[in-house]
């Protein structure tokens, strides 16, 4: 019984705060419910509406862009940083590591204020710099085309450091003897990176990419504090849309429908990603 006693709290919390609410959300996705009156069963109406809900699909597109940014920019950049931080010739290594970790411990409000000041049309540092070169002021946050750029910049700035710490842990687990042997065999830095570092980091890469994918599909803070999802939903993520519908407008059934679809998407994409990595490992 002792092992069950040890794992019980974790499972209790999981059932209470994860599985229970998830099942409840699935159930209420078939209802129309404002929270205060009894729910009204409407069958698949929420799902039918969501298929034709233009804003939902815009938010899916935006979230896909945020996820692609995370996977194809944040992860490689983090790996590059980790390799640099792991270099024996790097001085003040701990200071650099602390600096790269800083964004993750900085409050979202402070981040938003900093980046709002950076991208502000009127007094933003970027526009002031551009003005010195005679370039007209750009409405970074008010333009439907450009507003997604500041959000992407914040995502990269905020998450690259933490991701690099994961990779750094992986790099430090690679035996030094492998590099020594490669060096004796005449392998250069690039060859060592390609033939030793990357294969050895595969388990960590799988972990990082799954974590990053899940996190990016649930992105909320960055677009919320910078643009509120606007203008005209140009930066709205799926979770922001869930929040708008479910919490702000109290359409709990519809919000739950969005949440359920998001859950399925994350589950399926994570499985695909893990499958792809396993396939490569077997190769």
């Amino acid at each position: 019984m002792t092992p069950y006693g040890f794992i019980a709290p974790a499972y209790l919390l999981f059932f209470t705060f994860m599985l229970g609410p998830a099942v409840f959300a699935i159930i209420i996705s078939f209802f129309r419910w404002g929270g205060l009156r009894p729910p009204e069963f409407i069958g698949l109406a929420n799902y039918e509406r969501i298929l034709g809900d233009e804003v939902f699909w815009i938010s899916v597109r935006n979230t896909a862009i945020y996820s692609a940014t995370s996977i194809f920019i944040v992860v490689p950049l983090a790996l590059f940083l980790a390799v640099a931080l792991n270099s024996p010739s790097l001085r003040f290594r701990n200071m650099w590591r602390a600096i790269y970790f800083a964004p993750i411990v900085t409050s979202t409000v402070a981040i938003s204020q900093s980046f709002l000041m950076l991208f502000s049309r009127e007094f933003g540092l970027i526009n002031l710099t551009l003005a010195r070169f005679g370039i007209a002021s750009i409405d970074w946050l008010g333009s439907r085309t450009l507003a997604i750029i500041p959000v992407i910049v914040v995502i990269i700035w905020r998450w690259t450091g933490l991701t690099s710490i994961y990779f750094l842990a992986g790099l430090q687990g690679i035996p030094v003897e492998l590099y020594d042997a490669a060096h004796v065999d005449g392998a250069g830095r690039f060859r060592s990176f390609w033939s030793i570092t990357l294969p050895q980091l595969r388990p960590m890469s799988l972990f990082v990419s799954v974590i990053v994918l899940i996190g990016s599909l649930q992105i909320f803070d960055e677009p919320q504090v910078l643009t509120g999802g606007g203008p005209s939903n140009a930066t709205r993520s799926v979770v922001q849309y869930l929040y708008l519908r479910g919490i702000t407008q109290f359409r709990l059934g519809y919000g739950a429908t969005i949440g359920f679809i998001l859950f399925i998407s994350i589950f399926v994409l994570s499985l695909v990603q893990m499958g792809a990595f396993r396939g490569k490992t077997r190769d």
Partner: protein, 441 residues
């Protein structure tokens, strides 16, 4: 015999006692009802604006001073969305406030399925005949099924806040009609100065112009009428004006949150923005705190007029009503506080003097404390006169449970319209289409 005499004497004694008791009861009923509660009573209030805390605290301090038997302690909490928090707290069974500031745009959340009847106190009978003492449109914001659940804090009538120097230095007059607004805006726009502001995410300028033109989003029963009959024509006329202003560079376009931040004050102080069309509450909530160092350089003009006598002379935007929650254990006492601050002439005048929100009571609208006050920030102008002159023509704004969807759709379509990606017809059709598709969710 002796027994009968005793009974008769008792009756003789009992009669005066009963009369005295009845008189005492009657007098106590006529007096200050707060004397019914004694000792220290904590009243919890939720609001999004610190100015309301300031005002109610002042009134409560005065009530406490006039009644030594009762001490009301105001426990005020400021939060961004009191109604969202209120519904969440109700669902969760958490402690609720005694009274709450309902931002008018949030009231429709409570209209959904008639929830308001379960959570807020019906104030209709308490208001009684005094209903007609106030600008009628301000009751409409908190009305559901002909019952009133909130008392509005400001007239929210719209006018044109502007810097006269920008016009005078160019030999221009402050526009009095929308056609003039477009023409003067074009001249200013050519010099890199905007005549007004539009938000590309909310119903601000569009909504104010549309209501002034005579349009309504919903009818008195909460049914969507936007896009139907004259409302379609009004919406197109407003969008055409906005289109002209955008094309000539006369409008300063800001995105959502930028509207409430330092962007607009910065543009004012740099002389790149001549003015802004906004309601009365803009004065103390945003303008004066934002450009304190520009005192004396501002004036208030009436909203530009439409070339149609049936159109209104002003418009309306925003507002916050205070409502009593059914969860309150002190509903009568809270009503006394609300009545004292919002339904008396003294309260209305004090509110204007303390936090600058324009009275909603007819008697207060013509009071010297409102119309004769010279405001230093406006170079000594009597801005109360400007608002009072149009106050009676303030249009109503009918509410609907569908308003959240409607506002969301309107906000979503504004940016594409301002960018020139959709025309007025598409704008209107899309807003209607999205609002109708959301019905029943």
């Amino acid at each position: 015999m002796k027994e009968k005499r005793v009974h008769a004497r008792r009756r003789r004694l009992l009669a005066p006692i009963l009369i005295v008791f009845t008189i005492v009861l009657f007098l106590s009923a006529c007096g200050d009802r707060s004397t019914e509660v004694e000792g220290e009573v904590t009243i919890r209030m939720w609001t999004h604006d610190a100015l309301y805390v300031q005002f109610f605290q002042k009134r409560i301090d005065a009530m406490n001073a006039s009644n030594p038997d009762l001490t009301i302690v105001l426990d005020a909490q400021e939060m961004p969305d009191p109604i969202v928090s209120f519904v969440s707290a109700t669902v969760a069974g958490e402690q609720l406030p005694d009274f709450i500031g309902v931002e008018q745009g949030d009231f429709p959340i409570l209209m959904e399925d008639g929830v308001v009847e379960d959570v807020l106190v019906d104030l209709t009978d308490r208001i009684g005949d005094r209903f007609s003492d106030f600008v009628e449109g301000r009751w409409a914001l908190y009305t559901y099924n002909d019952r009133i659940y909130g008392v509005e804090s400001a007239l929210s009538a719209v006018a044109y806040y502007h810097q006269p120097e920008i016009f005078e230095s160019r030999g221009l007059s402050v526009p009095t009609t929308w056609n003039e607004f477009v023409d003067v805006g074009e001249v200013l726009g050519a010099e890199g100065v905007s005549i007004g502001v539009a938000d590309n995410m909310a119903d601000g300028l569009f909504g104010m112009m549309y209501l002034q033109r005579g349009g309504q989003f919903f009818d008195e029963n909460g049914e969507l009428v936007f896009g139907q009959g004259d409302n379609r024509r009004y919406a197109k006329e407003v969008l055409e004006i906005i289109r002209s202003l955008v094309d000539s560079g006369a409008l300063y376009i800001v995105y959502g949150d930028e509207f409430w931040g330092s962007t607009i004050p910065t543009a004012f102080s740099q002389g790149r923005l001549a003015g802004i069309i906004m309601p009365d509450w803009y004065n103390t909530s945003l303008l004066q705190p934002g450009v304190e160092d520009m005192a004396g350089q501002w004036r208030l003009a009436p909203m530009p007029l439409w070339d149609d006598p049936d159109a209104h002379t002003t418009s309306v935007w925003g507002g916050t009503g205070f409502a009593i929650t059914q969860a309150s254990d002190h509903q009568d006492l809270v009503w006394e506080i609300l009545e004292d601050g919002y339904l008396t002439l003294d309260g209305q005048l004090d509110r204007y003097a303390t936090i600058g929100f324009f009275p909603t009571m007819y008697e207060a609208l013509e009071h010297p404390d409102v119309v004769d006050v010279e405001h230093e920030f406006y170079g000594g102008q009597r801005i109360g006169r400007v608002i009072s002159d149009v106050a009676l023509d303030t249009p109503p704004l009918w509410q609907s449970p569908a308003r959240a969807s409607f506002n969301s759709a309107l906000g979503d379509m504004l940016a594409p319209f301002i960018d020139g990606d959709i025309d007025a017809e598409t704008f209107i059709d899309r807003v209607v289409e999205i609002t109708e598709a959301d019905a029943g969710l």
